[in-house]
């Protein structure tokens, strides 16, 4: 014993205090981290000391290190409890501080401090009680709150304001953790609203402000109290809090707004405190926006803020404007100059607010101009703000399925322009919108393909990682809508350019797939043309464009030429004018002749035998090298296209130089192949409802909810491949794949014999997890063919579809200069956004509001029973004494009177006779609000609920929070 106590003396004498610790840390003899770890070692030793002084100093140092330097101190929680229980204030303080810094709901020793807290809460030394309250306000758990509610209840009426207001404030945490405390404490809390001490009022109003943020409706019955404070209080802090409460209550009860609007306007006019005035303005524009004169007053105040020197006020002014914008756009338009000027402010907050306001002003008619201004602005601003601008343009224009966009050609070009802005980092959004517009807006596809072509063809863009997603979308668009492209060959050039190796594999795969689409399209055109030539107009078609018009459209030719010219001018693209002329002409042509089976796009004429062979050669060359690519997606697709091209090429070259008849015959073979491939791509992709999956009924026998835990045991014997994505190891592809990957590759031809045997073995052991085996074993390559030639024999339909499509886009083109009707935007019946799940309020909140409603209900009830002479004398006392405990019986007593609500709160009963009289006059309205209340009475606290059901007809009325009418 002597040894241990002497060591603690040594510790005590030579222990470093917190000051010493800080000083030596500042000397920086050691690096900070090594100094801290050394100190922690020291503390770990000291904190075990039996000497309270040593222990508490060690704890203080530890708390400091934890709070300032982020050192974990959860290991010391038991020592914290020890120090808390010291009788010396100095130590106790250190202990409590440490607890509030380090304890949380999962701290095990919390159970040990209940008694200590209780002792300190009831201590005669009010500083001890204050410590305990402070600690509770941050660490109270359900258990602590439940066990200490009586003690806190006592302190709520403490004669010392120092303690009382802290007890009031701690109630917030207690209610949050233990809603039943409401039944005990609420009444007393409300009484404190009446207090003459401003500090107490600050505390209570603060608590109600927080409470009302979660469930404002429950506090409607207290509106008269709040109103009194709004009118009488001189304390700005309290007024601000009351305004916050009213801002939440007013939307729930229209009559409330009428009452409070005048006092609020009075504050706006009279008060010199900017904070109060701003709060009034905010309350008016958020919650009293129907009161015109008040809004006008508020807007004049906002204007004053907007031109103030102080950037804070300017910022808040803009902020207030943007709150007002949805309902009072005129307020924004009135201050347009100030808003636009703010776009140049050096303060980024102000810039962003002003941007938001500008976007709020955007409408169908001015979206083009505003976007133009902003885009120019984005070009010269810093990257961060530039993207802020782009982001807000994208969200505004994309809102509600491009609601404000009329001219989609313009918008698609705008998206292209955004991509070209050097700082652009909005790849993902632009990608989504490009694809989304492609799928939803048929009429925009032509322009979309043009924009995509411009993006794809620019090698510089490939170097910018932020744009890769956009390029991905562009590649998809180019492939999907290739039939609208002016020059497919050019697209292929763009898609296979060498710099595409800068793209990540996933996007490269999209590029390759698009190449397949474009190539198959080119081949189809080539074959169609060949068919056409061999069947009828052999010589004429080869000779040239103009002749073709004449030949094919002898009747309509003159008119067509005119349309041609018209549309040429409308095309703003800078590239090869001849080409685009031809293109648009031909589109018109095809439109006017839907009866023509042959699609006559200009591009098609470019496909001579030679050019096709060249094309195939090039693709073979490029994709030949890709077949050794490391990424599975790229490799797989490159192989597909490589094999496809080889197949086609062989036939085409074989048949060169033979006469027309045989060509026709032989080509029919590959034309079936190509048609099947085209058909596979011809199915138009549309937007898919987000709830689509849910509407598919699961087939019988599909067990979705089966517990697959035992899979773990099965997979235990399988070594999972180390990398997440499946990279093939180049040439030794087959040998490296293990059992699990062979699972994936089970139908793969490259699967080797040893794999299949292990697979079989695995299957034998765990047959449960395999599909029924009969089919897949007998025909291992029984993969459904990509498409069934039988079902897709209607080539005509496709051509018709195409012509219709071009028709629409051309019609659109023709009318550009007139008022262009907004194109159809595909919209799904059940909405495109994820259904917002019914927000189920947390049980805790629910029970809290339920409890508060109960208590407030009981509070108004005594007054309801006023006409009952027997009750009258007793209710007030009862309300105070037995609050909550015998609520049901009180309800029963009141049943008889429920139909005559005399809306008077006991607290304010003697205050204003005139008010009461007015209340009686308005009884009808009061009942109305009862009706409203009835609806929401469904979520009520457990015990009460059953009781309520038993007596439902009358009780409902008596329990609903009656809004005292004298206010309303």
């Amino acid at each position: 014993m002597a040894g241990s106590s002497s060591s603690s003396i040594m510790d005590n004498l030579f222990q470093r205090t917190l000051d010493d610790l800080i000083k030596s840390m500042r000397l920086q003899l050691l690096t900070e981290s090594s100094f801290i770890s050394k100190s922690i070692e020291e503390i770990r030793r000291e904190i075990k000391s039996t000497d309270p002084q040593t222990k508490s100093t060690a704890l203080q140092k530890l708390t400091y290190l934890s709070s300032i330097h982020g050192i974990d101190m959860s290991w010391a929680s038991f020592h914290v409890v020890e120090v808390m229980s010291s009788s010396l204030f100095l130590h106790k303080r250190i202990g409590y501080h440490a607890a509030s810094v380090s304890f949380n709901d999962s701290t095990p020793v919390l159970l040990l401090i209940t008694n200590q807290l209780r002792k300190d809460l009831s201590s005669t030394n009010h500083f001890h009680a204050s410590l305990a309250l402070h600690c509770l306000s941050t660490i109270a758990t359900l258990d602590l709150a439940r066990d200490l509610t009586p003690d806190i209840f006592n302190l709520l009426s403490s004669s010392r304001v120092f303690i009382r207001n802290k007890a009031i404030a701690v109630v917030l945490r207690v209610f949050d953790k233990y809603p039943d405390a409401v039944r005990v404490c609420f009444k007393r809390l409300v009484e404190n609203l009446e207090s003459s001490d401003p500090k107490v009022v600050i505390a209570v109003i603060g608590v109600f402000c927080e409470l009302s943020s979660k469930d404002p409706r429950s506090y409607l019955p207290l509106a008269p109290e709040f109103y009194r404070i709004l009118v009488d209080s001189k304390n700005n802090w309290v007024l601000i809090k009351v305004l916050k409460i009213f801002a939440r209550l007013a939307p729930l009860e229209p009559r409330l707004g009428k009452r409070i609007v005048e006092p609020i306007c009075e504050h706006i006019r009279r008060s010199g405190a900017k904070s109060l005035v701003f709060e009034c303005v905010r309350t008016v524009i958020t919650s009293l926006s129907d009161h015109e004169s008040a809004v006008k007053l508020a807007v004049t105040k906002i204007r004053e803020l907007l031109v103030d020197q102080d950037p804070n006020l300017r910022y808040l002014g803009l902020h207030a404007l943007s709150v007002a914008a949805p309902k009072h756009l005129w307020a924004v338009l009135e201050n347009k100059d100030a808003v636009i000027k703010s776009l140049d402010d050096e303060d980024s907050n102000i810039k962003i607010e002003s941007l938001r306001l500008l976007m709020a002003m955007v409408s169908e008619s001015n979206v083009v101009e505003i976007s133009r201004v902003l885009l120019n602005y984005a070009l010269k601003s810093d990257p961060e703000f530039c993207n802020e601008i782009l982001g807000s343009i994208l969200t505004t224009c994309g809102r509600n399925l491009y609601e404000i966009i009329v001219d989609f050609d313009w918008y698609v070009s705008l998206l292209g322009e955004m991509t070209m802005i050097p700082h652009c980092q909005k790849g993902e959004e632009i990608e989504n919108q490009l694809i989304d517009i492609g799928m939803r807006v048929k009429d925009a596809r032509l322009q979309l393909v043009r924009v995509a072509r411009d993006l794809l063809i620019d090698p510089a863009l490939l170097g910018n990682v932020y744009l890769h997603r956009i390029l991905c979308a562009a590649a998809w668009v180019a492939g999907e809508y290739v039939q609208l492209a002016s020059n497919p060959l050019e697209l292929i050039d763009a898609l296979v350019q060498p710099r595409t190796n800068l793209l990540p594999p996933s996007i490269r795969a999209v590029y390759i797939n698009s190449v397949l689409k474009v190539v198959s399209f080119c081949l189809e055109c080539y074959l169609d043309k060949d068919e056409g030539t061999s069947s009828s107009h052999d010589g004429e078609l080869a000779s040239g464009r103009s002749e073709m018009f004449v030949v094919k459209n002898d009747t309509e030719a003159p008119e067509l030429v005119a349309t041609c010219e018209g549309s040429t001018y409308e095309q703003d693209e800078g590239f090869n004018p001849r080409n685009s002329t031809a293109e648009s002409c031909d589109e018109d042509l095809s439109v006017e002749n839907d009866s023509d089976r042959v699609v006559t796009l200009s591009s098609k004429k470019n496909f001579t035998h030679e050019s096709v062979v060249n094309l195939l050669n090039r693709i073979e060359l490029i994709f030949g090298s890709l077949t050794a690519n490391q990424d599975v997606e790229v490799l797989e697709r490159a192989r597909n296209i490589f094999a496809f091209v080889q197949l086609i090429k062989a036939e085409i070259i074989d048949n060169s130089g033979q006469n027309a008849d045989t060509v026709d015959k032989k080509y029919s073979q590959i034309s079936t192949v190509i048609k099947s491939i085209r058909d596979a791509f011809s199915m138009e992709l549309g937007p898919v409802s987000i709830s689509a999956q849910g509407r598919v009924t699961a087939p019988d026998g599909l067990a979705l909810k089966e517990n697959l835990d035992d899979l773990k045991a099965i997979c235990g014997d399988i070594e999972l491949p180390s990398s997440v994505s499946f990279y093939t190891g180049g040439p030794q592809f087959g040998t490296t794949s293990d059992a699990s990957s062979s699972n994936l590759l089970k139908n793969d031809e490259s699967g080797q014999s040893n794999e299949s045997t292990s697979l079989l073995e695995h299957r034998k052991r765990h047959g449960l997890y395999y599909l029924a085996s009969d089919k897949s074993e007998i025909v291992p390559n029984d993969y459904p063919p990509a498409n069934d030639p039988k079902s897709n024999s209607n080539i005509n339909d496709e051509a018709d579809e195409l012509t219709k499509l071009t028709e629409q886009s051309v019609l659109l083109k023709k009318r550009t200069n007139q008022m262009k009707p907004r194109p159809v935007v595909v919209r799904l019946d059940d909405g495109d956004v994820a259904p917002v799940p019914n927000k189920r309020p947390e049980r805790r909140d629910n029970s809290l509001s339920g409890a508060i409603k109960d208590v407030l209900g009981s509070e108004t009830n005594p007054s309801l029973s006023q006409s009952n002479p027997l009750d009258k004398s007793s209710t007030k006392q009862k309300g105070k004494k037995k609050l909550g405990t015998d609520l049901p019986s009180e309800m029963k007593e009141n049943l008889g009177d429920a139909e005559k609500p005399d809306p008077e709160i006991p607290n304010s009963s003697s205050k204003n006779k005139e008010r009461r009289r007015r209340g009686k006059e308005k009884i009808v309205e009061g009942e109305e609000s009862d009706q409203k209340g009835k609806k929401k009475s469904s979520h009520r606290h457990g015990r009460r609920k059953t009781h309520q059901r038993a007596n439902s007809p009358l009780n409902v009325v008596s329990q609903t929070p009656v809004i005292p009418d004298f206010l309303l």
């Binding site: 005590n12 303080r93 501080h97 949380n104 802290k166 701690v170 500090k199």
Partner: protein, 166 residues
Amino acid sequence: MISAVLVMNTQGKPRLAKFYEFRPVEKQQEIIRNVFAVLCSRPEHVSNFVDAESFFGPDARLVYKHFATLYFVFIFDGSENELAMLDLIQVFVETLDKCFRNVCELDVVFNYSKMHTILDEIIFGGQVLETSSAEVLKAVEEITKLEAASSAINLVPKSVSSWRSR
């Protein structure tokens, strides 16, 4: 409700960190770093408000004030008024100034405990209870006195007395 009060110097070293909801220490340090990154990127003479949603959850706002080498930062939600928070920082700093007579960073560094005492008198569990610096000073003085008294009793440490008695 106020969710945190931070004081840090212009190099990003925290001098006071008070969180009114429990957060693990690593998270606290991350928040301090994030706040500093935002503050030091802002030029002088711009507004004192910063959107704190990115690092403090929804509806979080931040008000800061720059005094000499220190940033005073309050993080709060929609139940507080921005300008009132700015005033509250002023009250806090005024109180410190009166308490330490021309407060400087060193005072803040070496008076960890007292800083908390002062702050606790103004803000209780995230709610503002006192907005007058005179009242705060009065309470803080009493607490300091009480602390001094309890340590005076302690001049002869218990361990010594127990050792003697043995």
